[in-house]
């Protein structure tokens, strides 16, 4: 039986446990042996993207030791996965870190590319807007990017299309950044919020009841703006929709 190590990013662990539970349950539906190693914290991206990549050594070692044993590592966040794929580095176990970088997957790409899911017993009778988180999109290439002259595809939409009674709304700007950007959201507060407001407005004006995506960091930022506006529109991680019945 295929073994999967579940990596739950730090802020998902603390603020969005429901998304992590949905990820765990969803994977278990497909006969995968999933474990959550207790010795895990963060991918290191908050430090690295702020210019402090030299401070990620401890979390890198922790990650390498905690996850080396699994066939695959799966995480419900495109951004954290991209960071680990690009930058995970271990002094103690360089080989293991190298292997992890090629066997770690974001949840959606794991379902589509590795498990090759054809059918989901899920139902979500709502109008849903899909937010294309940049690192999942342009880094992991979970969908085609509007800048390129290339055939279209979308792994998240491919899965959402298997969910009963779900309607995907269309957006005027298909893959513009929401403005979260890690520490950018506080160091460049004005632009970050304006980007978030504009992104949220696109979903709201096009009739979304829910905004979903592969990264809760973007969704958390948009949720903060929606709540401040007193909007009824909610955010939901894609795992929760795919696991809904």
């Amino acid at each position: 039986m295929m073994t999967v190590g579940l990596f739950v990013p730090c802020y998902v662990d603390q603020f969005y446990p429901k998304a992590a539970i949905a990820t765990l349950e969803l994977l278990e539906k497909f006969n995968v042996k999933v474990s959550f190693p207790a010795k895990q914290t963060c991918c290191g991206q908050p430090m690295a993207n702020s210019g402090f990549s030299h401070l990620t050594q401890a979390s890198d070692e922790l990650f390498t030791e905690g996850f080396a044993e699994f066939d695959y590592i799966v995480c419900p966040s495109g951004s954290c996965v991209l960071h680990l794929k690009d930058h995970l580095h271990s002094v103690k176990h360089p080989q293991k870190a190298e292997e992890i970088r090629s066997k770690i997957y974001e949840l959606v790409e794991f379902l589509v590319d590795i498990l090759q899911v054809q059918d989901l017993k899920a139902r979500f009778p709502h109008k849903v807007g899909v937010h294309q988180s940049c690192h999942g999109l342009r880094g992991l290439k979970l969908a085609q990017m509007t800048e390129l002259v290339a055939p279209g595809f979308s792994k998240p939409v491919h899965l959402l299309n298997m969910v009963d009674d779900l309607e995907i709304i269309s957006l005027s700007r298909k893959d513009e950044c929401c403005g979260f950007g890690g520490t950018f959201c506080v160091t460049e507060e004005a632009v970050s919020v304006k980007m978030g407001k504009d992104r949220v407005a696109d979903h709201v004006l096009n009739g979304a009841e829910y905004i979903t995506g592969v990264d809760l960091s973007c969704l958390m930022h948009m949720e903060g703006i929606l709540k401040r506006q007193g909007s009824m529109v909610q955010i939901i991680h894609i795992a929760e929709i795919l696991n809904a019945n």
Binding site: F15, P17, K39, G51, S59, G179, F184, E188, V191
Partner: protein, 456 residues
């Protein structure tokens, strides 16, 4: 000095204006998309252009020498300038030698980079910019806010006011056609009377010693053809090996910049006409240093199309002036720190690293990766704040110990419930315009331990 973040905050005080700025530039991004999608070979063109630039940068010294010898043979005088000061001195010496105290200049971001106008004016030489956008920002006494669209931050009513003041158009006149005509008439006398014309360079062909200048207004041609002296300033990275390479770049340049298939004028200047002097100034100004920085070398591939600015969600909502460098937006943010790390330390952080810039770049510069790399270089060089340094140290310590992280998280979530005012206050930039996430009863790790009886 105000940094990008602070200036963006000021820019965002007028939200309607931000919307207008964003939509104007997004419209150009969409025109670019349409033009690119007309060519099935678009991605191949980008790849070819990137490879040609790669090859050229790898052999830059040879191509520069080849260009120089061909240009000399064509009757062009070639000057080398190590930096902005030398460049400006060379221009001034050519003008002084010929007793010229008034020149006309077509668009050149290099002369903006060297602050040539201010230098010449302080030495008694008058400069008139002949590109319409450049003329507008010159009259407004502002730097350009965009390399292709220098006055994109100005509304037509504001340009009308400026022209009313300087060119005598009717008060309240804001019809673009009327204003453009006024600028044309005003520039006509300038073109007819200036004995020296300064231009930029889009491409310099090593094989032939010729230069190519792309404009939509024909203003470079007008200036050069009517002047006794043509001075062309170029950064040393503008070289391409062969004339046949031009087709690739010309097809990419205007489509990327404005969505046009090609600029209205793509003019070749190879040899001075009879009685004319033609000078080429080849400027380094930090370029060879950038070439020596392995992780940033690709930035020199830039052909100055501005596509990365038009697509950048941060640029569109912060305006070009917030970058405080001649070349704003994503590409400016990876070029500027090379010139002055201290002054431009804010720029690599003025990005969400969304990567859209890299995807539109016609020469495939990995802009967002270089922004990430600059952040590492700047922090290593100490160009950061004590607050950030300590914040990051504390965070990395928490992340090193899972038990500590779990406990800190639990404590934090409790505090958010018991003492919400600790988080919901003016000192928290998240809370200023966003609600905090609602802290759940238990974290996932707590849930997992209970539900799945996790022993470790």
């Amino acid at each position: 000095m105000k940094d990008h973040s602070r200036l963006s905050e000021v820019f965002n005080e007028d939200e309607q204006r931000v919307n207008w700025h964003d939509e104007t530039l997004w419209w150009i991004r969409q025109k670019r998309d349409k033009a690119a999608n007309m060519l099935p070979e678009w991605e191949l063109l980008r790849e070819n252009a990137s490879q040609i630039k790669h090859h050229t940068l790898s052999n830059l010294a040879n191509y520069l020498e080849q260009f120089e010898s061909k240009a000399l043979a064509n009757g062009i005088t070639v000057h080398w300038a190590a930096n902005a000061v030398e460049h400006n001195e060379i221009v001034l010496s050519i003008l002084n030698r010929n007793g010229i105290d008034q020149i006309v200049k077509s668009k050149s971001m290099l002369t903006e980079e060297c602050h040539l106008n201010a230098f010449l004016e302080s030495n008694g030489v008058g400069v008139v910019d002949s590109d319409l956008g450049e003329r507008i920002v010159q009259l407004a006494e502002e730097p350009p806010s965009h390399i292709v669209l220098p006055c994109i931050h100005k509304k037509k009513e504001e340009i009308g006011e400026l022209f009313h003041k300087h060119l005598g158009t009717a008060h309240g006149e804001a019809d673009p056609q009327v204003l453009t005509e006024a600028a044309r008439q005003d520039l006509r006398s300038v073109f007819l009377t200036r004995r020296a014309a300064l231009t930029g360079v889009n491409f310099a062909v090593a094989e032939t010693g010729e230069i190519v200048i792309c404009t939509n207004e024909g203003n470079a041609d007008m200036g050069v053809h009517l002047a006794d002296i043509h001075i062309a300033s170029m950064g040393i990275e503008k070289i391409i090996p062969k004339r046949k390479d031009l087709g690739i770049f010309l097809r990419l340049l205007a489509r990327s910049a404005t969505g046009q298939p090609i600029t209205t004028y793509s003019s070749h200047f190879k040899t001075p006409r009879l009685g004319q002097e033609m000078h080429m100034i080849l400027v380094d100004n930090g370029r060879s240093r950038q070439l020596g920085r392995e992780e940033f070398r690709n930035s020199l591939k830039c052909i100055r199309c501005g596509a990365c600015m038009n697509t950048c969600p941060v640029y569109r909502r912060s305006g070009g002036h917030s970058y405080q460098y001649t070349i704003s937006g994503p590409i400016g943010s990876i070029l500027a720190p090379n010139l002055d790390m201290q002054k431009h330390a804010d720029l690599p952080f003025a990005s969400t690293l969304c990567g859209s810039c890299t995807n539109v770049c016609p020469v495939k510069i990995d802009i967002h990766n270089q922004l990430y790399q600059w952040r590492q270089v700047l922090v290593a060089a100490g160009k950061t704040t004590a607050t950030k340094r300590w914040g990051m140290k504390i965070a990395s310590t928490l992340f090193a110990y899972p038990a500590l992280f779990g406990a800190a998280g639990k404590l934090g979530r409790s505090l958010m419930k018991i003492t919400p005012y600790l988080f919901k206050n003016r000192l928290n930039p998240w809370y200023h315009q966003r609600e905090m996430p609602a802290p759940p009863e238990q974290s996932f790790r707590e849930w997992y331990k209970k539900q799945r009886n996790n022993k470790d």
